[in-house]
Point group: C2
Chain length 339, copies 2
DNA sequence: GTTAGCACTCACTGACGCAGAGTGCTAAAA
DNA sequence: TTTTAGCACTCTGCGTCAGTGAGTGCTAAC
């Protein structure tokens, strides 16, 4: 594999990323600045096509990179440069305000989509040690109780729970005191397990009071434990790209975004990997994202990976710019969460 | 204005709603069952066109209803029938689970979009008397405090607030005790006003402790007061309608949905009106919704209007079916909130 | 008031041709 | 051996053109 051929491939991919049109031999000959004739370029192109790095959509069109072409481009042909000072500065200021995890996640995905003009997606942080801090049970009406659970990370979960019987305020206070005494400082997962055991024991001993208290706590703890959620922003940016622009295609994509399930599944697979990951076209393994690329990276708090964030865009995205931006956003989000 | 002409108009609108194609005299002649020739129908059509109730897109096309045509159809030509038992039953069961206002709102908008195949939108309930019930201030880290406010409606608001100085847990407890004593049972709006006054007075007397406590409370109370929010579901349904199907058009619409501001503004205007409101085409006054219709109604808790809900779809929507569904959804939501 | 007849208009479709872009191949030049 | 010029060829895209079908408006007869 020729040095020059690689140079041509690089020029071709860059050109195609720029204007989205198949690139012909004449254009490419000018682009590279090597002062070669179009005919020569054609020969090289034919080689690249044999190698499966480019294709032409039809006989008399220019060439377009294949997935393998993009892959080679991204792996070996690109030198990553840090994002522009301006971009970093504007990101940094927007992360300035201290607030809760949820808002930070939302900010991050908005920033990602804003700065890349793609769709930004951020997973909620998953704290390995999510610690029970305090529970509060409040009477709301005849048969409804408001349960509030506060974890050590400052997350607040609340649920309204319908009950079979009426609880007096003092009964609820007693119950919450009991729960707080028992569980404060323990891992949420642990708490859930122990609550289930308690519930079993209480059933056995027919301790109505206990049953109810444990059942109430159970519900809100369950809510706190399943923290699988993500934010997606800037979906509409994807409508601007001609290659995705069939209405049907976009609808499927948006429906998937709304469901979130598939997206979460994909992100989940990235959490194990180190550093920035790039899935080009069908590499992601999801038919939905066939002509999309996904750039993700993990973010960490206290040196532990807690989540994934990234962007979704057409395969024809400006990797050179996008990848460093995703990387730096992850760092900034991590810093903001660490506070 | 002829009785028969109205009959024709009705048939025409119904037909157009069904297949979205301009309706010709031949088709209409068959549709009405009056056994008249196409020529006669043409005469009537010409009259309707003079009255501005229908137009033909071009010389040799059939007729399409104008906004005025739809308006007449909706106001005088339609008899509202209750929604099908099946629809109501499926709605009712989905509202069955008791939970907090936010989830109910979300459910409602999902149901609306699901059952009508349009975009569903629901405003958060606005309680006129949103009463301060309890505040909790918890230390989170060096200079961050978690503030939790619970209102009488069982809504929980929490914010993480960055502070200039360190607070000991007991200081925070003292502050929250003070705030609870002062404000429990009072209207949130009132509380906010009084907090501002307190803050002023505290500044005058240089009471640092007070200043900080009031400032903390202030933030979370502010968050609780501005309850302007809404849920929009099923946006992608709108992509299925040919008449809105230019990508650019849809993008604008979706961007507006994401912004929410304009949508909230429109819904706000509906809150004063009684019963179901229908805005056809440009009647809404928003260029964005030019070829969309908006069907809204208010929902009430304890005989007080607290919010608005409805659907957004193309002008060519099945009003006969949609309007009763919006109506019944509002009732069901109200019932679910009342529990 | 209703209808038949007729001329007319307009969108849509498919055929045709043509220009433009780009290719592959071959043979000559470097 | 590599590069280039030349040439035939193949597509797409665009505009033109005629034919068809759907539908209209008008007029005159029923």
């Amino acid at each position: 594999m020729n040095e020059r051929a690689l140079h041509f491939l690089k020029a071709l991919v860059e050109r195609y990323i720029r204007d989205g049109q198949p690139v012909g031999s004449r254009t490419l000959a000018k682009d590279t600045g090597l002062d070669l004739s179009p005919a020569t370029v054609r020969n090289v192109m034919a080689d690249l096509e044999d190698l499966g790095l480019v294709v032409s959509p039809h006989t008399s069109a220019g060439r377009v990179p294949t997935v393998a072409g993009y892959r080679l481009f991204v792996n070996s042909l690109l030198t990553w440069t840090p994002p522009s000072e301006d971009d970093v500065a504007s990101l940094r200021t927007r992360f300035g305000v201290k607030c809760d995890a949820k808002s930070l996640i939302e900010t991050a995905s908005n920033l990602l989509s804003g700065v890349t003009h793609l769709a930004g997606v951020v997973m909620m942080p998953r704290h390995e040690h999510n610690v029970f801090r305090q529970i509060e049970l409040l009477p709301l009406s005849e048969k409804r109780v408001l349960a509030i659970l506060i974890t050590s990370e400052g997350e607040v979960h609340n649920r309204i729970i319908g009950t079979d019987r009426y609880f007096t305020p003092s009964q609820l206070e007693q119950a919450s005191n009991y729960l707080n005494q028992m569980f404060t400082g323990q891992d949420i997962g642990e708490v859930r397990k122990r609550l289930l055991e308690d519930l079993k024991r209480a059933y056995a001993s027919m301790d109505q009071q206990m049953i109810q208290a444990a059942a109430l706590a159970q519900e809100v703890v369950a809510a706190a434990e399943q923290r699988d959620d993500c934010f997606i922003a800037g979906q509409t940016n994807l409508m601007e790209f001609g290659e995705l622009a069939s209405m049907e295609r976009i609808k499927q994509l948006f429906d998937a975004f709304n469901q979130k399930r598939e997206i979460l599944h994909i992100l989940d697979r990235c959490i194990a990997a180190e550093g920035v990951q790039i899935f080009i076209g069908r590499e992601s393994g999801y038919a939905l994202l066939d002509d999309c690329s996904l750039v993700t990276t993990t973010y960490r708090v206290d040196d532990r990976v807690v989540g994934v964030l990234g962007v979704i865009g057409p395969t024809r995205m400006d990797y050179q710019r996008v990848v460093p931006l995703v990387d730096v956003t992850a760092r900034l989000l991590a810093a903001a969460l660490r506070q």
